[in-house]
C-alpha cells in the first residue's frame, strides 16, 4: 500500500487586502492518506476543510510546510498536471461543473484535453458512465438531469481519467435524499470495488459513518482523526463544534446523561435496537 497524500506541517492563509492582517485558515496540519482509504472530513463552515482539500490536488499552494501527492511535491508547478490526473475533485454545486451540452461529451472533456486517442476515449467514457450508472443517459442534455445525476456525471468525468483518488467537497449538500443515496452508493462502490481512494467532505453524519476514517476539523486544526465508531463517541465535543451526531449515537448519549448504562459506540439502527433490548431485557446490563 502506498501513500496517496502526505501533508506535513501545512499552514495556509488567504491573501488579504493590503494593510490587513492575514487570516490563517490552516495551522500546522500533519496528515497521511493511504491508497484505498475512505476518509471523511467533518467540520462547520469556515473550519478550513475545503481549504485543506484544495491542497490535495494543487489548487492551493502551501504557505508553509509541504503537500506530497503520490510522492510528488504539490508546490511544484511541473507536477500539477500529473497530480490532477490522479487526484480529481468534485464540488458542491453540480451546475458549476458541467461544461458540455451532451453527457458523454462532458465526461470526455478532460480526456480530450489530455489528447487521449478517440477509441480509447470512447471506451473510457463508456466505462465511467457504467460505473456511475448513467449509461442510458449518455446522449442526454446535462441540464435536463437531476442534481444527483449531474453529480454522477461530474464524478464520471473524473473517473474517465482513471484517477487514484477522488476528493468530493460536500457533493450531496444540494441533493435530495434519493440523489444523496445514489451519489453515496457510487462513492462506496468506487472505493470498495475499484479501490479508488476517497476523501469526502460532508456535513451529513450518516455519510461519514460509512467511511473507514473520520477527521474532524475546527478553526484550521485537526481535532479528531479516528474510526467513525471512536469519533462519534465524542458527542459533547461534536456538539460544541456545532456538528451533528447520528440520532442513534445521540440517543445513547442522552440516556447516559440520565445515568442509564448504555454503550456510546452505537452507529446504526440495528445496533441501537440491540442495545435498547439489552437494557429493557435487564439481562446483560448492570
Amino acid at each position: 500500500m502506498s501513500t496517496i497524500i502526505e501533508v506535513s506541517n501545512l499552514s495556509f492563509s488567504y491573501p488579504t487586502e493590503e494593510g490587513k492582517a492575514a487570516h490563517r485558515v490552516l495551522h500546522d496540519i500533519d496528515l497521511k492518506i493511504e491508497e484505498g482509504e475512505f476518509v471523511a472530513i467533518l467540520g462547520h463552515n469556515g473550519c478550513g476543510k475545503s481549504t485543506l482539500a484544495k491542497h490535495f490536488n494543487g489548487i492551493l499552494k502551501a504557505d508553509r510546510g509541504s503537500v506530497h501527492v503520490l510522492g510528488m511535491d504539490a508546490g511544484d508547478e511541473e507536477n500539477l498536471l500529473e497530480i490532477r490526473r490522479n487526484v480529481g475533485m468534485v464540488f458542491q454545486n453540480p451546475d458549476n461543473q458541467i461544461i458540455a451540452t451532451v453527457v458523454d461529451e462532458d465526461v470526455a472533456f478532460a480526456l480530450e484535453n489530455l489528447g487521449i486517442p478517440h477509441d480509447e476515449m470512447a471506451r473510457r467514457v463508456d466505462e465511467a458512465l457504467e460505473l456511475v450508472g448513467l449509461s442510458e443517459y449518455r446522449q442526454r442534455a446535462p441540464h435536463m438531469l437531476s442534481g444527483g445525476q449531474k453529480q454522477r456525471v461530474a464524478i464520471a468525468g473524473i473517473l474517465a481519467m482513471r484517477p487514484k483518488c477522488i476528493i468530493l467537497d460536500e457533493p450531496t449538500a444540494m441533493l435530495d435524499p434519493k440523489g444523496r443515496k445514489e451519489v453515496m452508493k457510487t462513492i462506496l462502490r468506487l472505493n470498495r470495488e475499484e479501490h479508488i481512494t476517497v476523501v469526502l467532505i460532508t456535513h451529513y453524519m450518516d455519510e461519514a459513518v460509512q467511511a473507514d476514517r473520520v477527521i474532524v476539523m475546527a478553526e484550521g486544526e485537526m481535532i479528531l482523526d479516528d474510526t467513525p465508531r471512536e469519533v462519534f463517541q465524542n458527542v459533547g465535543l461534536l456538539h460544541s463544534l456545532s456538528l451533528d451526531v447520528p440520532q442513534t449515537a445521540e440517543l445513547m448519549f442522552a440516556l447516559r446523561q440520565e445515568d442509564i448504562k448504555v454503550p456510546i459506540s452505537v452507529l446504526n439502527v440495528d445496533e441501537c435496537v440491540a442495545e435498547i433490548e439489552k437494557l429493557l431485557g435487564g439481562g446483560e446490563n448492570d
Binding site: 462547520h44 458542491q92 444540494m174
Partner: protein, 288 residues
C-alpha cells in the same frame, strides 16, 4: 387558506417534450398550519408551490387563496395574492440586487405602495425575525457572508408580511449550525405571527421537528397530506418513493415489531429518551 381542485400543470404543452409536472392535486391547507412539503427532485413540489402565488398558471384545475379563485377575471386579486403569499426560492441569496441591505429588504414593501414609515417598521421587524443586526443595514448585501445573505433574502419576503410564507429549502447548503438557526427563526415567525408556513425540505428530520403536517409529493401527485405521525406510519411507502423516516423513528418501529410496548410516534432524540426512561420505570414497577 390554500385550496386546490384538480390542479394540473403540464410543461411544453403541444410539443413532443410535453411532460406532466403535477396532476390532479386536491389540497386543503388550513390557516396557521405549518406544512412540511417533501418529495424527491422532480416530484413536482416546486411546480406546485409556484402556483400558490400565481407564478405559474394551471393547465387545468383551480386554486383558491383565502376562498378566492386565483385565476378568476379579477386581475387585481392576483396581484394582491403575490403580496399575500410570500415565496422564498431556493438559494434566495442569488436574487439580492440592491445597493444596501435596507433597500433590498424594503423593495417588496415599496412595491406595495406603503408609506416610508410603514416600510421602515416592516424592515426592522423582518430583520429581527431573521436575526440580522442594525449594523448591516447600510452595507452592501454582497459584502455579507453566505448565511447572512440568505437571511437578508428571507427578510425581504417576510417584510411583505404575507399571510402565507413558502420557503423552498431554506437550509440547503448550510452547515448544521446555520440550518438550526434559520429553521428556528422560521418557527418563531410562525408562532408569533400565526401565519401559514410551507417548508419545502428534503430532510424528514427537519420537517418532523417543525411542521404540523406533511405533504408528500411523488411523480407529480400529492401522495399524502396528513399529520407527522400519520405520514411516518407509512414508512414503507415513503421508502419506495426514495424518502426516509428519521433514524430514531426506525429504532422505535423495530422495537415495537419485536414486541416492546413503545410508542411509534418518536421523531426526535428527546422523545426517544423520554420513551425509554418511561419504559425503564414501568419495568422497575413490574419487577417490584
Amino acid at each position: 387558506m390554500i385550496k386546490t381542485e384538480h390542479l394540473s400543470h403540464f410543461y411544453s404543452v403541444g410539443t413532443p417534450f410535453e411532460t406532466v409536472a403535477i396532476e390532479d392535486i386536491n389540497l386543503h391547507i388550513k390557516k396557521g398550519e405549518y406544512v412540511g412539503v417533501i418529495g424527491h427532485t422532480g416530484s413536482g413540489k416546486s411546480t406546485l408551490i409556484a402556483h400558490f402565488n400565481a407564478i405559474l398558471k394551471p393547465t387545468s384545475g383551480k386554486i383558491f387563496i383565502d376562498g378566492k379563485d386565483l385565476w378568476s377575471e379579477d386581475k387585481k386579486q392576483r396581484i394582491q395574492t403575490r403580496f399575500d403569499v410570500g415565496l422564498v426560492f431556493q438559494y434566495p441569496e442569488h436574487q439580492l440586487f440592491e445597493e444596501t441591505v435596507y433597500k433590498d429588504i424594503a423593495f417588496g414593501p415599496k412595491n406595495m405602495g406603503l408609506s416610508e414609515e410603514e416600510i421602515h417598521r416592516r424592515v426592522e421587524k423582518a430583520m429581527r425575525f431573521v436575526g440580522l443586526s442594525e449594523s448591516v443595514l447600510e452595507k452592501s448585501p454582497f459584502d455579507l457572508s453566505g448565511g447572512q445573505k440568505r437571511r437578508v433574502a428571507i427578510a425581504g419576503v417576510m417584510a411583505l408580511e404575507p399571510k402565507v410564507l413558502i420557503l423552498d429549502e431554506p437550509a440547503a447548503g448550510l452547515d448544521p449550525m446555520g440550518r438550526d438557526e434559520i429553521l428556528g427563526r422560521i418557527r418563531e415567525y410562525h408562532q408569533e405571527t400565526g401565519s401559514t408556513v410551507l417548508l419545502v425540505s428534503h430532510s424528514m428530520e427537519d420537517v418532523s421537528k417543525n411542521a404540523d403536517s406533511i405533504l408528500v409529493m411523488n411523480r407529480g401527485r400529492c401522495q399524502m397530506h396528513a399529520s407527522v405521525p400519520e405520514v411516518f406510519e407509512r414508512a414503507d411507502e415513503l421508502e419506495k418513493m426514495g424518502l426516509d423516516v428519521p433514524r430514531i423513528t426506525r429504532v422505535f418501529f423495530a422495537l415495537q415489531d419485536k414486541g416492546y410496548p413503545v410508542s411509534r410516534n418518536v421523531f426526535t432524540v428527546e422523545q426517544g429518551k423520554a420513551e425509554i426512561t418511561r419504559l425503564l420505570k414501568e419495568g422497575g414497577k413490574n419487577h417490584a
